[in-house]
Symmetry: C2
Subunit: 272 residues, 2 copies
């Protein structure tokens, strides 16, 4: 049973409002955080992204100290995943928000996902092509039907993630992760200014290593010397296979995982 | 106070689930219906669109007879707007839905909007450009941040709607209405296969008159002999002004309004 705490402004409430604009329009933002022994090592990064998104969408941010204190209470020392959803709050029938909307937000605690297979992930290409929307790209907003449709394309448990291209055939990432390629000794990752999400782990890695942000396509991926996915819950996830293309474990990925693990024990790979 | 009825599958419930995928991802569809003396003249059209959307997204549809009976009870003979939201229901943390999701749906009753000004609407261009997504275009789905952002661009009550173009500069419609242009004696409306919503009133008008579906741009609009917006709540809304461009009342619009009003008294313009 997932534990959830709900708030309207600073007040704890028992249930979401049926008139919440999250339900009506996906009018909100979310963050998915890794909790390690009840602590949230990347809280500041997640909160900064939430703050940027809330400013861009014009949604009022909850009090950060309250949110963090509630999160810690909910986690109660556990290794877990914490999800935060922030919506614009109640609205009427139309797209225009009420003059003084009161944000609604929730915190929920979830079990950690299973460890990735030690040999690396098996990927597939998704048929769905992401649209481009510069006004929303990069944000972790709650308009996620593209990801829902893409994730519904397969149910083979032997395939761990699906790679997404946009309508221009640019490689963007996976349904719930960013993607990094190694070309020679250069790390590359796609821009997220037209499609995709500016992942928190992506950002952390760009501070740990020299990473070039460059438009990439399927060919770049197939010719890469090594490939990994990453997200804030699972850290770095080496890729072993995409269709007929196989990648052997690569020391550059192991090195980057090691450096990431050195920043916080939450991100030490379980097989190390 | 808006009256709302909530359901999980066929069961009435008191509140939305905090784990509803509508809140998490906008993973749902909606319909906004005009009610006239408690009846819903376009119920069949709305339900057909909802059924198509639900099939495309893989969301289970509620029982139609139950939904209609509940809607009629809620309306209780009133002239009103009825909003129906259908979400995929509760989910866990990821994009993949649970194996047997139980849809959540709600009905809410709202006041009719004020009558449009008798001289016609004043419009503006929105800065935001709609993205293109053939996998979702046409559907009245709950991923509506583009419309929320576009509607937030103005708060001048003298401007009644904002016109939207997509990233290719194609004219698509208004934030909450489709658009029709008159060129000579030909009615034109844009396709909705890449951006936009396949409006119920748009469809009804295409059955009442000869309408050509054609890609249109800002120039086509400015050179049109007459322009109207339409949606299922307000019917045909003649446009009087867009910036410096003015349109006089046009007999072709009056004729089409008359034909639409003849299909049901709900759509007789109040000034007739």
């Amino acid at each position: 049973m997932t534990e959830v705490r709900l708030f309207r402004g600073s007040q704890r409430v028992a249930a979401p409002s049926p008139l919440d604009r999250g339900l009506a329009y996906g009018d909100g933002l979310f963050e998915t955080l890794r909790a390690h022994r009840g602590e949230l090592p990347w809280w500041d990064r997640h909160w900064a992204r939430l703050r940027r998104g809330a400013a861009q969408l014009g949604i009022a941010l909850p009090d950060e100290r309250q949110a963090l204190a509630e999160a810690r209470q909910l986690l109660d020392g556990a290794d877990a995943v914490l999800k935060l959803i922030l919506s614009r709050g109640e609205g009427g029938r139309g797209y225009a928000p009420p003059p003084q909307p009161v944000s609604a937000w929730s915190l929920s605690r979830h079990a950690l996902p299973p460890s990735p297979p030690p040999e690396g992930l098996s990927l597939r290409w998704c048929e769905l092509r992401l649209g481009m929307q510069p006004a929303l790209a990069g944000l972790k907003h709650c308009n996620r039907l593209e990801q829902v449709l893409a994730r519904a394309e397969w149910d083979d448990p032997g395939l761990h993630e699906g790679l997404l291209r946009n309508l221009d055939e640019d490689l963007i990432g996976a349904t719930a992760a960013n993607v990094f390629l190694l070309q020679g000794d250069a790390w590359l990752t796609p821009p997220v200014d037209r499609s995709g999400v500016a992942g928190v782990c992506r950002q952390a890695l760009m501070e740990l290593a020299e990473v070039r942000v460059r438009r990439l396509n399927a060919d770049d991926l197939l010719h890469a010397d090594a490939v990994f996915l990453c997200n804030a819950v699972r850290g770095i996830l080496p890729v072993a296979r995409l269709g007929e293309r196989h990648w052997a474990p690569h020391p550059a990925i192991a090195g980057l995982r090691h450096r990431l693990g050195a920043t916080h024990p939450a991100f030490v790979p379980s097989q190390d």
